[in-house]
Structures are given as structure tokens and as C-alpha cells.
């Protein structure tokens, strides 16, 4: 007779002692444990003390009737299902309905039928177990959910600090990122390099949730660390790719656009791996030049196969670069049709106020989909005069007591090195050990970078800067530069640094020599400094930012000086 289920504790609340005995006998015979109560109040007390699994409740009892007792017990049971079966001699449907309304789950008419009672207890036990399982799972899900929410909250706080320790608040940057875009794998970073150029990265990790956000940490670390030290895009990209390839599982990668906006040279250098087209917006003509993905995402290729080639475009004051994540163009409507690039371009052409572009795009997405989405990123960065920006001064952690003040060093970088390695960040780090130079680290870095790239591009590679007189020539120049660098087999760039005390302060002389053909120094220096011309900016920049700039050996050797006063 006993079912496979576990024995239950059954409370029998019945004022008639004879009925109590009869029921107890039947229920015990089923293998269950029996508790008894003679009225409703006692039933509630017994329930409180012993928490039976199931209650057989007489409707009519003295002190407290079954209806009231049932309500109290149900209330005490809370989420748990304690099935209550009313025992009743009532027959009018109204009275039977009252049993159920009071919280009863079923009723059993007197006189008792043993078979039916047994069946009802079993059925109620099934319900009770089902409810218990549901409650348990619900609680488990709720716990997991709380746990996840808390993890996300903590992770978001940490990532927000990482993502916002840069210069995203600079006046020439506008961005729109849904609050939890990071947990959809989007990442937006911005920072100034020592020369005052701005690096921006918009990345999009595969997948969603925490796994996608985890890769953001090492990527941000590389981005900020190397940008602050003055590394170029190629080196930063190589490092990011190698790091992600090493730590991410095979099926995870990061689509990314990395760009360097140079306010002094008025150029944007860009690398796009797997992101949707970015756009370079010419503020005068209104033309938008697409900046398409030319590369595989970061973290896919081995360091040997990784392609770090960037593209350089000229820009004018007020021109903008616009980047977006695939959340924008992959937003789909109710029929699963994507928003797409064509619709985005329609928004571009309809846009009248450039500052309201984001709002226009958002509105178009809303109209298209009918509801907002929570996983997109957009960023727009404007070329402005360097004076409009205030790059924060670098922070140094040492005391300044061990500043080296009297030394010289010479380097020769030969063809195989020139191809892949930019020594400037190392040389700058070395020079910034001299505390007196720290205040002018930006100018120092700009001048050294110019001298080095002049020596490499025009000297060793023999490129003609007049190629850069228009935008098309600009592109041709950088294509030619890549080709010649690939083919380079000999040549050198030498860098000599002399630091010496000078009164209370000091003096740095930098000489940069190259193995090239040289140039007509007198003619180049006689040219007026013309900010609209794309070519020849290097020389005028060097003359503006340093002292005693001079060229010798038919232009093959350049020399500049920096001075500093006694430190306070």
C-alpha cells in the first residue's frame, strides 16, 4: 500500500475523537507519521511547532473553525505548499467553495473513503514536492542573479576606472556608449602620448558578458602604458595582438580600431581590424571618407603573421573622425532585417548639425526598430588647434635626487632595426631621467620624433615630402613608404645625445644623422612656415619647438638644443 514516496507528517485536525482515531489509523497505515489537534487553534499551534507536510482539517470545530485555521496555516507556510484537505459533511456547493477560498487545496466528504483519501494524499504530496522544487530553484536563480549583478557592478566599477583614466573627457571627443556596452564586449579608450597626440581605441570583443569584458583589462593596460611612453601605433598593435593571442581562447578575439590624431601635423593614422567602416568627415566639403577594416581582429593571428600596417590621412581643423561598433549597423527590426550601412549613410546625408549626429543616429535606430538597444558605442573626435587641449602633465614617481647631469651617448640604428623598431620611446625614457627636461617632455618628444622620421623617411628611404601636397599624394606617400621600408637592406640613422650642466640648469644637444642623400638646406629653410601646406611640416615644427636648430653635411645631419633652468 505504501508508495515509493517518503513518509509524510500529517496533521489531523478534527474535534470528534472517534473520527480522529479512524483517520489516524487510515493515515498511519499508509506509513505516515500522524499529529492530531482537537480544534482550529490547537491545529495552528501544532503546525507552528512541528511543521507537518499536510493537513486534514475538519471544517466545523469549536474555538477556531477550520476555515480560519486554514488561513492562518497558509499564511505561516509562506512560499511552502502545505496542502490542506478539508474534511466536511457539508454538501452545498457554496460551503465546499468556501473551503477552497479559505486556502484549502481539496476536500473530502464524510464518511471517509479510504481509497480516495489515500489517492488525495498522494496527489497533494506530488503538488507539494513540485512547489518545493520550484521554490528551491527560484531561490537558487535569485541567489545566482544577485551574485551576478553584484559581480557586474564591481567589475563595471573597476572597468569604468580603467576606461576613464584616459582623456575621454577632452573637449574634442564626443562619445555615446550604452551603460552596459562593456558587458557586450565594447571598449573605448583615449589617451595623450608625450607629444600631445591623441590615441583612441574602440574595440569589440567576441561574445557577451563577463568573458567579453575580461580581455578589456590587458588591452587597456597595454594601450595606456605604451601610449604614455610614446610608442607608435604599430608597436602598440603588435603588443596588443600578441597579448590577446596568448591569453584568449581560440574562439575569442577583439575587433578594434586604433587611431592616432596628431594636432601638430594635422594627420590621423588609423588601423582597423574587423570593425565596421569608420568615417573621416571633411568639414568644408562635407565628404565622408570611409575608413574600412583592412585587417583581421586582434588576437587572431600569430605575432609572425600579424599585419601592423596603418593608413595616414591628412586632416584640417574642424574635421572629424567617427567610429562606431557593430551594435549600430546590426540593430535589426522585427523582421530580422539589419539597419545596415546604407541606412547609416542616409542619416549622414540628412544630418544638418554635425554636433547632433549621435542623436540623429539614435533616432533613426529607434524609428527602425521601435525600441532602444543597449549594446552600441559611437565616438567622434575632432581635429582642433593644439592650444585647445590640455594634456595632463605626466606623473613621475621618483624623487629627483639621482638626476644624471653630465653624459653622452650615441646610437646607430641599421636597416634591419629601422624596418620594425621605433627607438624613440626608449630614448625619451632615457632623457626623462634628467628631471630638468621633464617639463618640456612634449616638445622634446615631438622634436625627436620629427628628426627621426625625417632622417628615416627623407634620408634613408629617400622619400620626397612634396608628394604630400594633397590628400591623394598623401596616401601615395605612405604606400611608397611601406614598400621602401619592406625592401630596405642598408642605411642607418645615428642619434647622439649630449647632456651637460649649464649654469644652475643644464643643456641637451641632440644630433640625428642619416645615410641618405641630404637636401638643399638653404632652400628648405627659406620656405615660409605655411600651416596649410601638408608637406614640410617637420622642419618648421622642429624650429618652433627647439633652440639652435641647424643642419649640416648637406642636410644629412640635424642638430637641436634644449635648455632648462635650475629646478625649484
Amino acid at each position: 500500500m505504501q508508495s515509493s514516496s517518503e513518509p509524510l507528517t500529517v496533521l489531523i485536525a478534527e474535534d470528534s475523537a472517534a473520527d480522529r482515531l479512524l483517520l489516524s489509523t487510515i493515515v498511519r497505515r499508509q506509513g505516515h507519521h500522524v499529529l492530531t489537534a482537537a480544534d482550529g487553534a490547537e491545529a495552528v499551534d501544532v503546525y507552528l511547532e512541528q511543521r507537518p507536510h499536510l493537513v486534514l482539517m475538519d471544517a466545523m470545530m469549536p474555538v477556531m473553525d477550520g476555515f480560519e485555521a486554514a488561513q492562518k496555516i497558509k499564511q505561516l507556510a509562506g512560499d511552502q505548499l502545505v496542502p490542506i484537505i478539508f474534511l466536511t459533511s457539508l454538501t452545498e456547493s457554496e460551503a465546499l467553495a468556501r473551503c477552497l477560498e479559505a486556502g484549502g487545496d481539496d476536500f473530502l466528504a464524510k464518511p471517509y473513503n479510504q481509497v480516495i483519501l489515500t489517492a488525495k494524499i498522494k496527489a497533494m504530496d506530488r503538488l507539494r514536492r513540485l512547489q518545493a522544487t520550484v521554490v528551491e530553484q527560484r531561490d537558487q536563480i535569485a541567489r545566482h542573479h544577485d551574485y551576478l549583478l553584484n559581480e557586474q557592478r564591481v567589475a563595471k566599477a573597476v572597468f569604468d576606472k580603467i576606461a576613464h583614466s584616459g582623456c575621454l573627457s577632452a573637449p574634442n571627443i564626443r562619445y555615446l556608449q550604452s551603460p552596459y556596452a562593456l558587458f557586450n564586449g565594447d571598449l573605448l579608450l583615449a589617451a595623450f602620448n608625450p607629444a600631445g597626440d591623441m590615441h583612441i581605441l574602440l574595440g569589440d570583443f567576441t561574445g557577451h558578458g563577463l568573458p567579453a569584458a575580461v580581455g578589456a583589462m590587458p588591452l587597456a593596460e597595454v594601450f595606456y602604458g605604451m601610449t604614455a611612453k610614446g610608442y607608435g601605433l604599430a608597436q602598440i598593435l603588435r603588443e596588443m595582438n600578441a597579448k590577446l593571442k596568448r591569453i584568449l581562447p581560440v574562439d575569442m578575439f577583439c575587433c578594434a580600431t586604433l587611431l592616432c590624431l596628431s594636432f601638430q601635423r594635422c594627420t590621423v593614422e588609423i588601423w582597423n581590424g574587423g570593425m565596421p567602416d569608420g568615417y573621416l568627415h571633411d568639414s568644408l566639403s562635407g565628404v565622408r571618407t570611409p575608413l574600412p577594416a583592412r585587417h583581421l581582429p586582434l588576437g587572431v593571428l600569430t605575432p609572425q603573421l600579424f599585419d601592423d600596417r596603418t593608413e595616414v590621412h591628412p586632416m584640417s581643423l574642424g574635421d572629424r573622425v567617427f567610429l562606431l561598433s557593430d551594435g549600430v549597423i546590426e540593430t535589426s527590426d522585427r523582421d530580422d532585417q539589419p539597419f545596415g550601412v546604407e541606412r547609416l549613410q542616409q542619416v549622414f546625408s540628412a544630418n544638418r548639425e554635425p554636433d547632433r549626429l549621435f542623436e540623429d543616429i539614435q533616432q533613426a535606430l529607434l524609428d527602425f526598430r521601435g525600441e532602444a538597444r543597449d549594446d552600441f558605442s559611437m565616438v567622434e573626435v575632432r581635429l582642433v588647434a593644439p592650444t585647445q587641449l590640455n594634456p595632463p602633465p605626466p606623473v613621475y614617481s621618483d624623487s629627483g635626487q639621482s638626476s644624471p647631469l653630465d653624459w653622452s651617448v650615441s646610437f646607430e640604428f641599421r636597416a634591419q632595426t629601422l624596418k620594425r623598431f621605433n627607438p624613440m620611446p626608449y630614448l625619451l625614457q632615457l632623457l626623462l631621467e634628467v628631471h630638468g627636461l621633464r617639463a618640456q617632455s612634449g616638445a622634446l618628444y615631438s622634436v625627436m620624433s620629427e628628426l627621426y622620421s625625417n632622417a628615416l623617411d627623407h634620408g634613408v628611404l629617400g622619400l620626397d615630402s612634396s608628394l604630400k601636397r594633397d590628400a591623394a599624394g598623401f596616401a601615395r606617400y605612405y604606400r611608397e613608404r611601406n614598400t621602401r621600408l619592406d625592401e630596405l637592406s642598408d642605411g642607418y640613422v645615428r642619434v647622439h645625445l649630449h647632456v651637460s650642466p649649464n649654469g644652475e640648469g643644464g643643456r641637451l644637444a641632440i644630433e640625428v644623422e642619416d645615410s641618405g642623400e641630404g637636401f638643399d638646406v638653404a632652400r628648405v629653410l627659406a620656405r615660409p612656415v605655411d600651416s596649410d601646406r601638408l608637406s614640410g611640416r617637420g622642419v618648421s615644427l622642429v624650429r618652433q619647438l627647439s633652440h639652435q636648430a641647424s643642419w649640416s653635411d648637406d642636410g644629412r645631419s640635424a642638430r637641436v638644443e634644449f635648455f632648462w633652468e635650475a629646478l625649484a
Partner: protein, 101 residues
């Protein structure tokens, strides 16, 4: 079945066909389609004729397949891609890793 596998009679060529959305929901099936084979095929064809959509986790799955098939030495063709699917593969520059048609 939204991932259908067919091995050529000589066992050299494996064809994996995807039906419907190629996204994270296909992860398990897709991996099993090549991991359960006892003998590694020489070449693999991923047929996307009936694939309606492809997301970045599908790109990740293709990378897993490529890794399993020998990485840079693998021979994987992705065929019958619709123009939308082709666009996604082109943005990611996956044509540098796979023979896409």
C-alpha cells in the same frame, strides 16, 4: 538538425552545412560535427547556403574549426555565403584565413 555533416566516401573531405541562424546556439552541434570524427579529413567545406545570419560567435566557431584542422596548415572553404553573410566575413577580414565564396 541545423548542423548537417557529410563525409566523402574516401573520408578525405568533410562538409558541414549550417541551416538557419549561425550563432552561439549552434556552438555544441558545430563542435561535435568535426570533433567526433575518428579520422581527420584533408579538407573541410562549410556550406552556408541555408544560413540566414552569422554573428561574431560564429566567427569564433570558425576559428575553433580552423585551429582543430591544423591552423595555418588547414584547408577550409566557406561556400555559398549570402551577400549579408559575405559582408560580415569581409568586415572581419576572414577572407585572409578562409577561402570564401
Amino acid at each position: 538538425m541545423s548542423v548537417v555533416t557529410e563525409v566523402s566516401p574516401d573520408g578525405h573531405k568533410l562538409t558541414i552545412s549550417i541551416k538557419g541562424r549561425f550563432d552561439f546556439g549552434r556552438h555544441q552541434e558545430f563542435r561535435e560535427s568535426y570533433e567526433r570524427l575518428h579520422k581527420k579529413p584533408d579538407s573541410i567545406v562549410v556550406d552556408l547556403k541555408e544560413a540566414t545570419y552569422l554573428d561574431s560567435s560564429a566567427l569564433g566557431m570558425l576559428l575553433l574549426l580552423r585551429d582543430h584542422a591544423g591552423g595555418d596548415q588547414s584547408d577550409i572553404r566557406v561556400v555559398n555565403s549570402s551577400s549579408d553573410v559575405k559582408k560580415i566575413l569581409a568586415i572581419s577580414n576572414f577572407d585572409k584565413l578562409f577561402d570564401i565564396s
